[in-house]
């Protein structure tokens, strides 16, 4: 059914349709509206057969999820940023144990400096924990990926993170087609665990594994993610058959067939990128884009196929490998191993800085004429940076960097872009 609603609300409805049995929640901006939504549904009885537990920390949230999932219940939670870090130990634990928990990440920057706005640093911080990480481009896709996510998690016995841009998607009102219960039931069967705590058939879960077997256990986890590379497209195809629309999959190429410049990005910024691609195509540029939906497992082969014919690839990322440059770029570079083409890393949108059509158009134009640096920070205020560096070189006791910069920038509350 078509609705005009907030992204978080749509996600909450999608999760409810998946018949979860245990949901645990700890509030953190910007995912709060999601868990509030589900919480209300449980309390009012709209979502039956589900227990909603208010826990005392994110660490507790994922811990409760681990217990519930190990005991055979379909389990869900959500977090962002600092919260994801606070549950980091449990994140690795859930993946290592192979528990099919689905968790929404309302993507938000990680501090310090503390920042509540959108970027991908939180999901990236846990990229190697063994969870599947899929990124939604729109709120419709956010809805769809949760439904696909539960099936993916349970078929593989692997937890899944559905990454949804904080504020840009979670708090955006857009048109969404929320499926019916019958449609979801036809797609998502009841949870049949591979391992379960059951007095009738006792098992020990969570043994200590030493050097003699650790490698094999870890190899199997890696192998599982590699299997996901085929399962994810299969589920996307099955989803299309059941629900009638394209959603999920590994990557989404846009006008790449004869493109000389291809832009690669994750999440909602792909929408803006496609608008710019259309504008530049109309002006004669041979440009296209690829949205990566499955970041883990990383789609090396699919990316290679999509990118190899281009002259240059611009990876636009909302995250930063401090001291190195790009994170997504590393994966893209690996996908293009052995192929000679120009690769550019653009760090953009950190801490919620707007990525504008105008900036992107200039950026892509510069890339087209190969006038771009290897690593660019989009819309970096060079004056502010220069000033701060100079200040720090003059004295020792320069005070907190962030505060100094904010003072220099002045009132920002009403800035538009």
């Amino acid at each position: 059914m078509l609705k005009q609603c907030e992204g978080s609300h749509a996600v909450a409805e999608a999760v409810a349709l998946c018949r979860p049995q245990v949901i645990c929640a700890y509030p953190i901006t910007p995912q709060t509206h999601i868990v509030e939504g589900v919480g209300e549904m449980v309390k009012s009885g709209a979502l039956a057969g589900c227990e909603f537990i208010n826990v005392e920390s994110e660490f507790a949230a994922l811990s409760v999820a681990i217990g519930a999932s190990a005991a055979g219940a379909r389990t869900y939670t959500a977090t962002s940023s600092q919260g994801l870090l606070f549950m980091a130990e449990a994140v690795y634990n859930a993946a290592g144990l192979g528990l099919p928990i689905v968790m929404t990440i309302g993507n938000r920057a990680i501090g310090a400096p503390i920042n509540i706005w959108n970027d991908h640093s939180d999901s990236m911080s846990m990229r190697d924990a063994g969870w599947i990480q899929i990124f939604a481009e729109t709120n419709q896709e956010a809805v769809d990926l949760h439904i696909q996510g539960f099936r993916l998690a349970e078929e593989l016995s692997c937890p899944v993170m559905v990454c949804v841009d904080g504020f840009l998607l979670t708090h955006a009102y857009e048109r969404v087609d929320v499926p019916t219960q019958a449609q979801v039931d036809a797609f998502l069967p009841p949870f049949e665990p591979r391992q379960v705590l059951d007095p009738a058939e006792p098992v020990t879960i969570g043994a200590m594994v030493g050097p003699e077997a650790f490698t094999e256990v870890r190899y199997l986890a890696h192998h599982k993610q590699l299997r996901a590379l085929s399962l994810i497209p299969q589920l996307s195809a099955a989803f299309k058959t059941q629900f009638g629309r394209d959603s999920g999959g590994l990557i989404r190429p846009y006008r790449t067939a004869d493109a000389e410049t291809i832009v690669v990005a994750l999440g909602s910024v792909n929408g803006t990128v496609q608008e710019v691609v259309d504008e530049m195509r109309a002006e004669g540029s041979k440009i296209g884009s690829v949205g990566i939906c499955s970041f883990r497992p990383f789609p090396l082969t699919a990316l290679r196929d999509a990118l190899q014919h281009a002259k240059r690839v611009v990876v636009l990322e909302k995250c930063l490998a401090v001291g190195l440059g790009g994170i997504v770029s590393d994966g893209v570079r690996k996908a293009l191993s052995g192929i000679q083409l120009k690769g550019y890393t653009v760090i953009a949108g950190l801490g919620g800085r707007a990525i504008t059509r105008a900036s992107l158009k200039q950026l892509f134009a510069d890339a087209g004429t190969d006038e771009l640096e290897q690593v660019t920070f989009l819309d970096l205020n060079a004056d502010v940076v220069a000033h701060e560096l100079e200040r720090e070189s003059r004295a020792r006791r320069t005070g907190p960097t962030a505060e100094a910069i904010l003072r220099r920038l002045g009132t920002v509350g009403s800035r538009i872009g």
């Binding site: 645990c24 020990t204 879960i205 043994a207 030493g210 077997a213």
Partner: protein
């Protein structure tokens, strides 16, 4: 015991009440007790939830306490119990991959979240309509009083239907005997060495988690000791008859960490109880409902001198000041909980 009635017409001389002494376990033996009062361990059909073959040290108080506690819980739960275990000695020595000593469904959580994981298991059981399956969480003092404290308090506050059992050997033993907030004053550990002006763990620090549990007003809180295994079984059984958040704190000597002899484990535990340093109490919804009185009070030295971790208090020049402080703690416990009969 009431004195026997006088025969009619007999002279009214003062009768001396006869005292019958109990010696820890019922000396009359299991066979003269009702079925449900007998020790689980006396039953050939006991579940042996923590089976033999685990790798605990000789004389490990925790292995003993866990075996008694979980078997009692299993009996009370009609053998339908799921156990969640924090990282620690118990978890490590009971599951040396590829073996496991657990005969029941068991999951190792993480260090700080046994209470939360157990809450999740309990929720799953409820949602699956398995109201017959009960949940127990286990952790050492480190995993309970320190790193697990947040999750523990959360579980208490929500009144989740979990019995949390803390095996308190008063330090992080599995990692090499480091101090925890359960480490008693003056005790030597690897991070509170017996050197300097204040040798051993400093006075004025530490947490009393049973009292904190009581402050949450949960349905049942109890302390127990491997010195009185029947009392331990009784308390576990009683707790299993209640729904909601329950907490049992068991004192379990660690010969290795305490520097006591493996064969002295139960004796040391008894000295702790009889000196007043480890009170045996019960509470419901925040109010004290029971305590075991001390049969034969012993000075704290009798307890401390059995353990090398307190050796620096003894020797040619005993540290009378600190011994006096420790005695004061014991005496205060006795006063507070009424541990001596009037």
């Amino acid at each position: 015991m009431n004195p026997p009635k006088t025969r009619p017409g007999a002279s009214v001389t003062p009768m001396q009440a006869v005292k019958f002494y109990q010696t820890g376990t019922f000396t009359v033996g299991n066979r003269l007790l009702a079925e449900d009062e007998r020790s689980v361990q006396a039953n050939m059909q006991r579940t042996n939830s923590l089976n033999s073959g685990h790798r605990a040290c000789q004389g490990c108080g925790e292995a003993l306490g866990a075996r008694y506690a979980i078997d009692a819980a299993m009996r009370a739960a009609d053998n339908k119990l799921i156990a969640v275990n924090a990282t620690g000695c118990l978890e490590v020595f009971s599951t040396p991959y590829p073996e496991t000593s657990w005969q029941i469904p068991w999951i190792h959580s993480l260090f700080g979240n046994a209470a939360a994981v157990a809450s999740g298991v309990a929720a799953a059981m409820r949602m699956k309509g398995r109201h017959d399956v009960r949940v127990v969480a286990q952790g050492g003092d480190g995993g309970t009083t320190d790193i697990g404290f947040g999750c523990l308090s959360g579980m208490f506050e929500r009144n989740d239907d979990v019995l949390y059992i803390c095996y308190d050997n008063e330090a992080y033993m599995n990692t090499g005997v480091q101090r925890s907030s359960a480490t008693p004053p003056a005790a030597r550990t690897a991070t509170t060495m017996a050197v300097g002006r204040e040798p051993g763990n400093v006075f004025g620090t530490g947490k009393n988690v049973p009292l904190i549990a009581m402050a949450h007003h949960i349905p049942y809180v109890a302390t127990a000791s491997v010195a009185n295994l029947r009392d331990l079984e009784f308390k576990v059984t009683k707790a299993m008859g209640i729904h909601g958040a329950r907490y049992i704190h068991i004192h379990v000597p660690c010969p290795l960490g305490w520097g006591s002899l493996p064969e002295d484990t139960i004796k040391v535990a008894r000295m702790a109880v009889e000196s007043g340093l480890f009170p045996l109490i019960e509470a419901e919804h925040g109010e004290l409902t029971g305590r075991t009185t001390i049969r034969r009070k012993v000075p704290v030295e009798d307890y401390l001198s059995l353990q090398k971790r307190f050796a620096h208090l003894f020797g040619k020049t005993p540290d009378t000041a600190r011994l006096t402080q420790i005695q004061a703690i014991a005496d205060r416990n006795i006063r507070t909980f009424g541990l001596l009969p009037e």
